[in-house]
């Protein structure tokens, strides 16, 4: 990692304060089947979403799911840099970034591998949703910034990006709804995990490594198509397909909130 020469060096002997934090016995589901915040296994957190916050951007949206806060700004369509080859379809450039203060551990300004991977996934997803044929020789830039990572940041990022594109009046085939599921063993599918449930690296109750992972699915609700599927961890085929189906139905239920936000935005005009 290249050294950051602009900041003062930390004292020689310095340790991460998290090493001293009390280790809690984190249990995902209590005995009566409720999670730590009182939700059931398949309950989604409330979502707040609003458009048009960033005045400098062509379009923007802010999405809050529980404590996760994500802001997306869209610039364009604008001229492509001259260096690129001439193309009759538009180009999309996405950046997915965690703010340094957003997670428990401070994130560097230079994009990490995880952020690069998420940027790439966002680019591929949005490429399938935006009508690129209507923007020859142009490029659209989309920046997603996670201000607070309270779990399901990628899902919130997808939804914020699609509303920001609608706010910028860029032609898209549909709006994107997304959902994340944490799989812990064959039985437990935790929908819309928060940051503790996401980062759970423990094995399932019986100590199994298989069927332990995170699945995020982005859905185009009216066209009934899946536009992104990302999974990490070790998941067997049937568990993965069950998790995907559950993700799709949960994502569909986000559609009404997003649609209401867009109609409010049009009415305000």
């Amino acid at each position: 990692m290249p050294a950051d020469t602009r900041r003062l060096a930390t004292p020689d002997v310095s340790l991460d304060p998290l090493l001293y934090s009390k280790k809690s016995n984190f249990v995902v589901l209590s005995d009566d089947g409720l999670r730590n915040d009182g939700r059931g296994e398949s309950d989604l957190r409330d979502m707040f979403i609003e458009c048009g916050l960033v005045s400098e951007a062509t379009g923007s949206a802010y999405c809050e799911i529980g404590t996760t806060k994500v802001i997306c700004s869209v610039h364009g369509p604008k001229d492509m840099e001259q260096k690129e080859d001439f193309q009759m379809i538009g180009k999309i450039r996405c950046e997915f970034k965690f703010a340094p203060f957003s997670c428990k551990k401070r994130k560097e300004h230079i994009p990490s591998n995880e952020e690069n991977e998420l940027s790439e996934i966002l680019t591929q997803t949005l490429r399938s949703v935006v009508c690129l044929k209507k923007f020859p020789k142009s490029q659209i830039e989309i920046h997603v910034l996670v201000l607070d990572n309270g779990g399901s940041a990628l899902a919130a990022g997808f939804m914020a990006a699609s509303l920001a594109l609608a706010n910028a009046s860029i032609d898209t085939f549909d709006i994107i709804t997304a959902c994340t599921i944490r799989v812990i063993g064959k039985e437990i599918y935790v929908v819309d995990p928060d940051e503790n449930e996401e980062q759970l690296t423990n094995l399932s109750k019986d100590g199994e490594a298989v069927d332990n992972g995170l699945v995020t699915v982005a859905v185009l609700p009216t066209l009934n198509q899946v536009s992104a599927m990302m999974s990490s961890g070790v998941l067997s085929c049937d568990v993965l397909s069950d998790a995907m189906n559950l993700c799709v139905t949960s994502a569909q239920s986000r559609y009404m909130t997003m649609r209401e936000c867009l109609t409010n935005m049009i009415k305000k005009m």
């Binding site: 020789k137 609608a166 032609d171 049009i266």
Partner: protein, 278 residues
């Protein structure tokens, strides 16, 4: 009818798909689906969706006001609120010393003396290319670099297409309603016959603008912003009426919402009266 991207507008086959809509090219699927968030505008059998923000789509012959963004070899790149930057070729401007002179290498090097980054110009669209980019020209003494005045940006959809976009309002200012949504307000310009022949429209009047003129310009600008806030079409009559109705208030008060709505209501009434009499 308000739609969001992905909403099915109709399944009837008689309708054609316009701006802001698309159809799945699947055999037997006749749905017309919206691709932007906005209001459905059916024009006879054509279904369009009018989005919140529109970029300017140029037509040949439109008058636009643009800002020079870049100086390149033998051309300038002009920012006109369209999807792609517009182009103003060196051969499309009037040079000092007669119009029909061949452009030499010296002209190329001296381009920045004529127009540099940040200058505002008024021009006409000469050509629209296949990808939607525009070629401009300033080959008339009416067009050229804009000097002292104020530029207001509104949505391109609010500018009414008329035969004439440059007006001298009776309140004492001259106004250029660019089709791309950029409106230029300046003190009264002398007519083209007064200016020196062959100056190419690059020199502008550097006389100091009087305080009264500045106030009028400011009032016209605020009146235009009031009209734009309430989505009223902008043309010389509507701007003139809005100015007249605003004389009851101070120019700076026009920026507040209640004063703006009052002025717009009275302007609309006056326009209706005019239509009723016509």
């Amino acid at each position: 009818m308000l739609v969001t991207p992905g909403d099915v507008i109709t399944e009837d086959t008689i309708y054609m798909k316009g701006h802001g809509t698309y159809g799945t090219n699947i055999e037997g699927d006749k749905r017309v689906i919206a691709s932007v968030a906005g209001v459905v505008e059916p024009i006879n059998k054509l279904i369009c969706v009018k989005p919140l923000k529109t970029r300017y789509n140029g037509e040949v012959g439109d008058v636009i006001v643009g800002r020079i963004k870049d100086v390149q070899q033998k051309r300038w790149k002009v920012e006109t609120n369209s999807r792609l930057d517009s182009v103003l070729h060196l051969s499309s401007v009037n040079l000092r010393g007669g119009e029909l002179r061949r452009r030499s290498a010296a002209d190329e090097f001296a381009m920045r003396e004529y127009l540099k980054e940040g200058d505002l110009i008024s021009a006409e669209i000469q050509q629209v290319h296949a990808d939607g980019s525009l070629s401009l020209h300033t080959r008339s003494l009416r067009y050229g670099k804009l000097g002292q005045g104020c530029c207001v940006v509104v949505s391109p959809s609010l500018i009414k297409r008329r035969k004439n976009h440059m007006h001298n309002l009776s309140c004492g200012v001259s106004i250029i309603l660019g089709n791309n949504g950029y409106v230029w307000i300046s003190p009264l310009v002398k007519t083209a016959t007064d200016s020196e022949a062959g100056d190419g429209g690059f020199d502008f009047d550097k006389e100091p603008v009087t305080a009264d003129d500045r106030e009028t310009i400011c009032r016209v600008r605020n009146a235009i912003l009031c009209l734009a806030k309430h989505s009223v079409m902008l043309y010389d009559t509507s701007v003139q009426y809005a100015y007249d109705k605003s004389l009851d208030y101070e120019a700076k008060h026009l920026l507040s919402d209640d004063v703006a709505s009052e002025i717009v209501d009275r302007t609309l009434m006056e326009i209706d009266l005019l239509k009723g009499n016509a």
